[in-house]
């Protein structure tokens, strides 16, 4: 039964990605914007244009171009970027780890902050301090990530310049990494000074991404905890003399976390999408920043690769969330 569920999910994922690939392939060739028109010289003749289109594989019909692309994609060849003139898969592989580290750190920070807010809010429910916690959380909820980004740029980048403003690592660091996971690798190899520099560069974009998500987690988890706190098993534990904090963390949390986890998973996909604007503001070299340039320059192969990558990430996140929810709630397990 579990195997059939896995197969089912896999088939759905492949079908989803294929559908996305077809739709995006057609759309980007139909909407205004022609990379050849953008680069053609002022004195180019009609034959020059034809030659340039052929050079970039843009001379056939949309369907023939798709077939060529699809056949290559099946063997892992997603084409050559028009602007960067390198293999699309390699480019994505170079940029994705930066976004994974940024989004991963933002998710972790969001869970920590959101969880703390929820616990504190539950502890102080019904009191004035609880209302203050709710109000502050409401403000955090109202501000989108790019506004936080600009606030941090002004406060921590310019007014009190504590943190580096742009980039992923100090440009004077000699980048001698085996992988593109700079933060993880520097921590694991004991290069703490480099790790510190990377974390300093990631601090503002991480917080900009984390705070809105933290506010969502805080609100939803607090609501779930409040409901759990009036259940019989919690009342029993309270009668037995457990402290309020232990009640929340030890009894109520494990039942409250399920719905929050599902919502966090959905929000995490938005977080990945949010990296596009935040990475641009902080000149952070992840797939978000790459996507903006690809769209501006109508780099068709790169746009295609990026959309498929985003699609794959969303699918994987949803699978992971489903697995986590099942792991935490035995009632949902089957097989």
């Amino acid at each position: 039964m579990a195997l059939s569920a896995v197969l089912n999910r896999t088939v759905m994922a492949v079908a989803t990605l294929l559908g996305v690939a077809i739709i995006v392939f057609v759309l980007i060739r139909v909407v205004p914007g022609d990379p050849i028109a953008m680069m053609i010289g002022p004195g180019a003749s009609a034959s020059d244009v034809i030659a340039l289109r052929a050079h970039y594989g843009l001379d056939g019909s949309v369907s023939s171009q798709f077939l060529v692309w699809f056949k290559s994609a099946l063997v892992g060849d997603f084409g050559i970027s028009i602007t960067m003139r390198r293999d699309v898969l390699t480019i994505l592989g170079e940029h994705l780890p930066a976004t994974i580290e940024l989004a991963g750190l933002a998710l972790l920070v969001a869970i920590l902050i959101g969880g703390t807010v929820a616990v504190v809010g539950t502890l102080t429910r019904g009191r004035r301090s609880g209302a203050i916690v709710d109000a502050v959380n409401g403000i955090f909820l109202a501000l989108p990530d790019f506004i936080w980004a600009l606030i941090f740029v002004l406060l921590l980048g310019v007014a009190v310049p504590l943190l580096p403003l742009t980039g992923r690592i100090d440009p004077s660091v000699q980048i001698e990494f085996g992988t593109r996971f700079f933060l993880a690798e520097s921590l694991l190899t004991g290069r703490f000074k480099v790790a510190s520099d990377i974390l300093a560069h990631m601090a503002m974009p991480t917080m900009a991404l984390a705070l809105p998500l933290a506010a969502v987690i805080g609100r939803v988890l607090k609501q779930a905890l409040t409901e759990a706190m009036v259940q019989d098993y919690v009342l029993l534990a309270r009668i037995k003399g457990m402290s309020e904090l232990r009640l929340i963390l030890g009894e109520a949390l494990r039942n409250a976390v399920g719905p929050t986890l599902a919502l966090t998973g959905v929000q995490a996909t938005f977080l990945i999408g949010g990296t596009v604007v935040v990475e641009r503001i902080f000149a952070y070299p992840g797939i978000g920043n790459l996507a903006i340039d690809a769209v501006i320059n109508r780099d068709f192969p790169l746009i295609q690769g990026l959309v498929l990558l985003f699609g794959l990430i969303f699918i994987l996140i949803n699978v992971l969330v489903d697995l986590a929810v099942v792991a935490l709630n035995p009632r949902l397990r089957y097989g």
């Binding site: 028109a37 403003l165 790459l290």
Partner: protein, 510 residues
Amino acid sequence: MVALTRRDVMAASMGGVIASMLLPGRGAFAAGDTLTIAFNVNIPSFDPTVGLSAVNPTIQAIYRSVFDQYIGQGPDLSWQPGLLTAWGWNDDKTKVWMDVRKGVTWHDGSPFTPEDVVWSLERAAGKDSGNPIQFIWSKIGKFSIDGNRITADVLSFEPTLFMWMGFLTAYVLPKAYYAKVGADGFEKKPIGTGPYMVDQYEANAFVRLKANPNYWGGKPPYDTVVFKFVTDATSRVAEIESGSSDVTLEIPYEEYDRLIKKDGLAGVAQPVSDIGMIFISNVEPMLDKNVRLAAIHAIDKEAIIKKLLRGYGIRIDTLEAPPYTAFDPTIVVAHDPKKSIELLKASGFSKEKPVKFTIRTTRGLKPKDYEMIQAIVGMWRNVGIEADIEVYDIAKHFELRFAHKLGPAAFYNWGNATGDPTNSTGFAMFSFSPHSAWKTKDVDDLIGPLWGEHDEAKRIAGWKAVDKYVADNGLVIPLLQYVQPIVFKKSLAVTANQSGALQPVWIKKA
């Protein structure tokens, strides 16, 4: 034995992370003699001869740091020896000759030779090369080398050939190295003969350049130059204001005025070879000369420059900016709203019965582009022209222009670092160019003979006549020559480049 709980492990890990954050982070690695530039574009590819980046004027600042051009260009747009020390035509202009500089080495230490020049020119001329300026490079061929002199046949006379040798895609690449490593290898580790060598490149992040100690033009001012790719203008302002970068450019003029008043910062705002203009297409209602001229006379360019651009701009009445070779100061199109009203009245239009059309513009691509068009539309409304504004991105502009579907009016900025009229009036007004919007035979008949005109004085006079004709008939709306704001630390002395390329060799210590 000490028993560790899960809580202890988590606390220790968190403590480690926090402790590592408290270690020196910001600027801990900065080396001494380093110039850091917060740059406004990314460099997507290191091949300066093919693709979209090859025709991006701003990226030339990086390309010219790593590679040399056949012919050099000074910050005042004057031509200088580059990898060619001398060049010219034979008497009847059927051949060209070029003398190649001696004693130059590539960044890997191998010698630069005339074969590299020939190979680079032949490669650029290839139909399959992907070089967007192939149409120029293909005009010479059948190269021969005699010592340090190269000669070639003129396959099709191009009066601006040697100017193009200091312009877009005109870079000499290493023949032997390129053959050895291929296109991929060259992208991973590019080498040139330029003043700086690529030390580290992180796409969409930065490129770090190291001084070429054997540069034929002398040791560059800085040991290390870092171009940080900061495409967001707000972030560039923050970079310079916080001291994270030493120089930045292309920031809003109001921010420029604010920053240069701060302690420790200075600025230079100099006109560059970029112009702002409105394309007019030969479609209704623009087929009516009265409508075209009325639209032009209604625009108060000085007011736009003064109020929207804080005085940073120079009004122009032709597509030739003042530094251009064919600039004619006698061609003036006055701001005269009364004349606009009379012209429109003659065609049956008025404020009560306005002529209507759509004008397209980008928003945020150039300083106050959208706001300028808004102001112009307001000026038009006062004389009897009702224009709707359609905002689009630059990619759509290129596509529409290529398909001759720009519509009656469209804002654009045009760059011409050669200063030659073929590269502004020529390609903007000649109907066979994919870059033109007004496509009529009368203009083609004027321009056609000039492409192959051997007599330089006659050629320039011819272009001035074209500009006069275009202005008298209102076939395009030139607006202004742009000014490029550059902000830098007071410890620096920056020589602004009229082409707009911020080259580190012209940034010195004050």
